[in-house]
């Protein structure tokens, strides 16, 4: 599902980080990334070679101010540096300085002000944009002014809303003043920086239509390890090392090919003509493994960033207004059985609430345990709530209204098409008649938030943050299940007002527990996004944060660089290059 550059308004920040932050000094929470590549099994990194990556769709505007689609967000992480570099370590989001990650502009940060509601960053000297212009604190201050400008209409506007001002104190010192102290201050100030000298003249309204974005290979000025070398619209993007970035990436070139068809992507992988293929479906994994018992490819996971749900709309069917009915519908489903049937055991885990296990600060397996499969219990609950099959037609009814509704999902998703059929059968056993309906995806994405559905199967992407208020606030357009509980809202408000995560997390857990009690959704499972990676590609780090986070550290052993290295001669003419 397309999304923003990763992240959310409130980032997860460990208590230890904040405790350390109070003391100032050179810091990076979560440890060093410098040796990541060297730790890779398979030898010492060497330079050279071309990596061929495969994506499902093309880039649009890979620039921090206007990036919107998920792939643009991935590219922004490769092309631009931020003050700190976000990373996912040990179940939490951490912020690395240049001492630990070359993608960070700042070598030092510290909380300042009486209530620590400001952060001062000290930037490295001698950094340059790819056109040779120096990177300065003015670029940072301008970028944040533009992110907040409604004419620019950045998708990250909400992230910067708590920022009162960003002041460039000199060329290499910049201070962020926040309206109040809150846990996401580092996250909000880690957004990649855009070059002021390139876009300022266009004005806020002209940035989106700036010529450099129409021809990124010629005009895009970047700060990261790679720049766009060539763009064949809809076909491929070639990234080449940015000479002003240090250290130089190991790879000579990265060619990202656009292949929308899953079978073709798989063939390219099996032919050895692609080395990193996104969008692998769960049912393709056994095929990949069976075709290659020697394991020349591995499956990497962006772990548990999504939860698949069954949503119930209480305003569309009276049965859904009763929490006992919603609970019964969940209990009637054998979720582990569904996961097994669809060969997802390795990549999906039954879900019991809105927080997946990757969010260690708020995930509570005891209080958010998945509902146990219990058909008899489900029947009892339905009987108790007055939904009984009095006329013996196999469908329960109450006050003359049958427990019959439409279960909606989007077309074109084979997994969901299978899941709704299993759900339909399992509900039928307890006297519930679900009629299946598939809608074109854009229509589905319109109808669910508009509450034009009775029950729906869909999924939400999990933010790397505990803030779930957007899904459960009474007046939020994304509260698609019409959840309403004053106490839960109070707890979420209090959590958002807390200055640190160690104080906010218990409130989030409490709110989640209240929500789970009501079962506005049936949480089915958390699932991974899969990427197939050829063995020749080393140093690759894929985790919940993303797949391109350390592209400059990827490397190919010299003996495997083959014809695709050096001059870049054709790499897709045969097998045996792995």
């Amino acid at each position: 599902m397309p999304t923003l550059p990763r992240g959310t308004r409130l980032a997860l920040l460990a208590a230890a980080l904040l405790a350390a932050a109070a003391c100032g000094g050179d810091r990076s929470a979560g440890g060093s990334d410098k040796q990541a590549a060297a730790a890779e099994p398979g030898g010492t990194p060497v330079r050279g070679g071309t990596a061929v990556l495969v994506e499902l769709g093309d880039m649009e505007k890979p620039m921090p101010l206007v990036a919107q689609a998920a792939f643009d967000g991935d590219l922004v992480d490769v092309l631009y540096m931020g003050l700190t570099r976000s990373a996912w370590r040990g179940g939490r989001l951490v912020y690395l300085t240049s001492n630990d990650n070359p993608m960070a502009l700042a070598y030092h940060w510290e909380y300042v002000g009486a209530d620590s509601a400001a952060i001062r960053y000290r930037m490295r000297h001698g950094l340059h944009w790819s056109d040779g212009a120096p990177i300065s604190a003015e670029d940072v201050a301008w970028t944040y002014r533009m992110l907040a400008d409604t004419q620019v209409a950045s998708a990250r506007q909400e992230d910067v809303a708590p920022i009162d001002s960003v002041v460039a104190e000199n060329d290499s010192t910049v201070t962020f003043h926040f309206r109040r102290r809150y846990p996401g201050m580092l996250f909000a100030s880690s957004i990649p920086i855009a070059p002021k000298h390139v876009y300022e003249a266009a004005g806020p309204g002209g940035i989106r239509t700036h010529p450099s974005l129409a021809d990124p290979a010629r005009g895009l000025v970047v700060s990261g390890p790679f720049k766009v070398g060539a763009w064949r619209r809809g076909e491929s993007i070639t990234l080449v090392p940015n000479p002003t970035f240090t250290p130089r990436p190991y790879l000579d070139r990265v060619v990202i090919r656009i292949i929308p068809e899953p079978t073709t992507r798989l063939v390219e992988l099996r032919n050895g003509t692609a080395h990193f293929v996104r969008g692998i479906s769960f049912d393709q994994v056994p095929q990949i493994r069976a075709a290659d018992p020697g394991r020349h490819w591995r499956i990497e996971r962006e772990e548990k960033r999504f939860w698949e749900y069954l949503a119930y709309n209480p305003s569309a069917h009276p049965a859904f207004a009763d929490p006992r009915v919603r609970r019964a519908l969940g209990m009637a489903l054998d979720v582990p059985g569904i996961i097994r049937a669809l060969q997802m055991e390795e990549f999906a885990a039954p879900a019991g609430g809105p927080y997946p296990p990757i969010l260690r600060g708020v995930y509570d397996p005891a209080r958010m345990r998945p509902l146990a499969f219990d058909s008899a219990g489900a029947k009892r609950l339905l009987d108790e709530s007055g939904w009984t099959d009095a006329d013996g037609d196999g469908v329960r009814e109450k006050d003359g209204k049958p427990l019959r509704f439409t279960l909606l999902t989007n077309a074109g998703n084979a997994r969901r098409a299978d899941v709704v059929q299993i759900v339909q059968q399992q509900w039928k056993r307890i006297g519930v008649d679900a009629r299946l309906k598939q809608e074109e995806t854009t229509t589905f994405l319109n109808d669910v938030p508009a509450k034009k559905y009775e029950a729906a199967l869909g999924s939400w992407q999990v933010a790397l943050s505990p803030d779930m208020s957007i899904l459960f606030r009474k007046d939020s357009p994304l509260n698609v299940v019409g959840y309403e509980d004053a106490e839960t809202e109070r707890m979420m408000d209090r959590a958002l007002a807390e200055p640190t995560e160690e104080r906010a997390d218990p409130l989030w857990r409490g709110a989640a527990e209240r929500i789970v009690q009501e079962q506005p959704y049936t949480w089915l499972y958390f699932y991974d996004q899969l990427t197939a990676v050829a063995d020749r590609l080393r140093g690759v780090r894929v985790d919940s944060y993303g797949a391109y986070q350390n592209l400059w550290e990827w490397w190919i052993p010299r003996e495997m660089q083959g014809a695709s290295g050096g001059t870049g001669a054709a790499a897709d003419t045969g097998t045996g290059k792995r």
Binding site: A153, I258, P260, E268, R270, T442, A570, G574
Partner: protein
């Protein structure tokens, strides 16, 4: 003839405007809008509203229509909501990509289709006729997406595997090995001219075959019927009676007359040249019009839908016109009328 052409072209203008107006309102009435793909918990609804405002989607539909119409009349197709680029920069590229593919496919369709049709007609009821009829029907009935996938599996995956297991067979089987997707290989820009031509051919062959074979089978059926009609006529008997060789009778006398309905067919294939083929382009990762149109519709990229619709509608009108003109050119009876 010139007056007739001008009348037809002028008549096409209100027709095109009518078509585009209907498409404009249909696509806007469809549920969802270009911001629907950003609906997820990481994007604030306020930001989505602002995107809608900036795209002008919060204005009344008739205002949006007149704004589009005014830009369109001035030759400005606008800005793609989906690809975030001016359409004037997107369209030439995708049109050229599609044209390369469809031109090769079109040549394949008519050359192969006509040759098969001629052989079938000349050898009516022979084994060759029956075998070719069966083959033509087989390919005509086959969905292009399935055929495309089979071509990839056989000529890319399986051949690759055979060569990997038996490298000694590479010289024999190498020419049957084709890439699974894309328009060129990685490293194309470093190739010499000859290599580039070979690489282009290798990449275009399978998609053109997938696109062309079913249509060629259709043309073969037309050609067979048309030829059969002609070769049983008196003037063909006269030609034979004059002692002309069979080759001259078939290719000079029969074929020219049998071509009339085929030429009409050629005109009707013109829209195909630029509309592309969604499934084949998607399967082979070919960035052409077919993919652009479907992506635009799925993303509710209204300006892109309107621009691509205009191209296709214009080609349909032009195709019909060309068809009529060609018909008059090859058939003096029509011209006289």
């Amino acid at each position: 003839m010139v007056g007739y052409l001008i009348r037809r072209i002028l008549g096409a203008i209100p027709l095109l405007l009518g078509i585009l107006t209907i498409i404009f309102f249909i696509i806007h009435i469809a549920p969802g809008d270009p911001t629907a793909r950003f609906v997820n918990p990481n994007v604030s609804p306020r930001v989505i509203e602002q995107m809608r405002h900036n795209l002008g989607l919060d204005q009344p539909l008739h205002i949006q229509y007149f704004k589009w119409l005014w830009s369109f009349i001035r030759g400005d197709f606008g800005y793609s909501f989906g690809q975030q680029q001016p359409i004037s920069q997107i369209l030439p590229g995708v049109l050229w990509n599609t044209l390369q593919l469809t031109l090769v496919a079109l040549v394949m369709i008519f050359v192969v289709g006509m040759l098969i049709g001629i052989v079938q007609a000349v050898r009516q009821y022979s084994v060759a006729d029956n075998v070719l009829s069966f083959g033509a029907l087989f390919f005509y009935s086959m969905p292009s997406f399935w055929f495309a996938l089979m071509l990839i599996l056989v000529f890319s995956l399986k051949i690759n595997q055979v060569i990997a297991m038996n490298p000694a067979m590479a010289p024999w089987l190498g020419w049957l090995q084709f890439p699974a997707s894309g328009m060129t290989s990685v490293g194309y820009e470093f190739m010499g001219f000859g290599q580039k031509m070979g690489d282009r051919f290798k990449h275009i062959f399978l998609p053109a075959l997938a696109l062309g074979i079913g249509n060629a089978a259709g043309v073969a059926r037309y050609m067979r019927g048309s030829m059969l009609e002609v070769i049983h006529q008196d003037f063909i008997r006269t030609a034979r009676a004059k002692g002309l060789s069979e080759r001259v009778v078939i290719f000079r006398h029969a074929l020219r007359n049998a071509l009339i309905p085929i030429i009409t067919l050629l005109g009707l294939y013109l829209p195909f040249l630029l509309s592309g083929a969604v499934l084949v382009e998607t399967i082979f990762g070919w960035p052409g019009m077919g993919r652009a149109i479907v992506d635009a519709i799925l993303q509710r990229d209204y300006p892109m839908v309107m621009a691509t619709s205009f191209v296709i509608a214009a080609m349909v009108v032009l195709g019909n016109l060309v068809s009529d003109v060609l018909y008059a050119v090859v058939d003096p009876r029509i011209r006289t009328e």
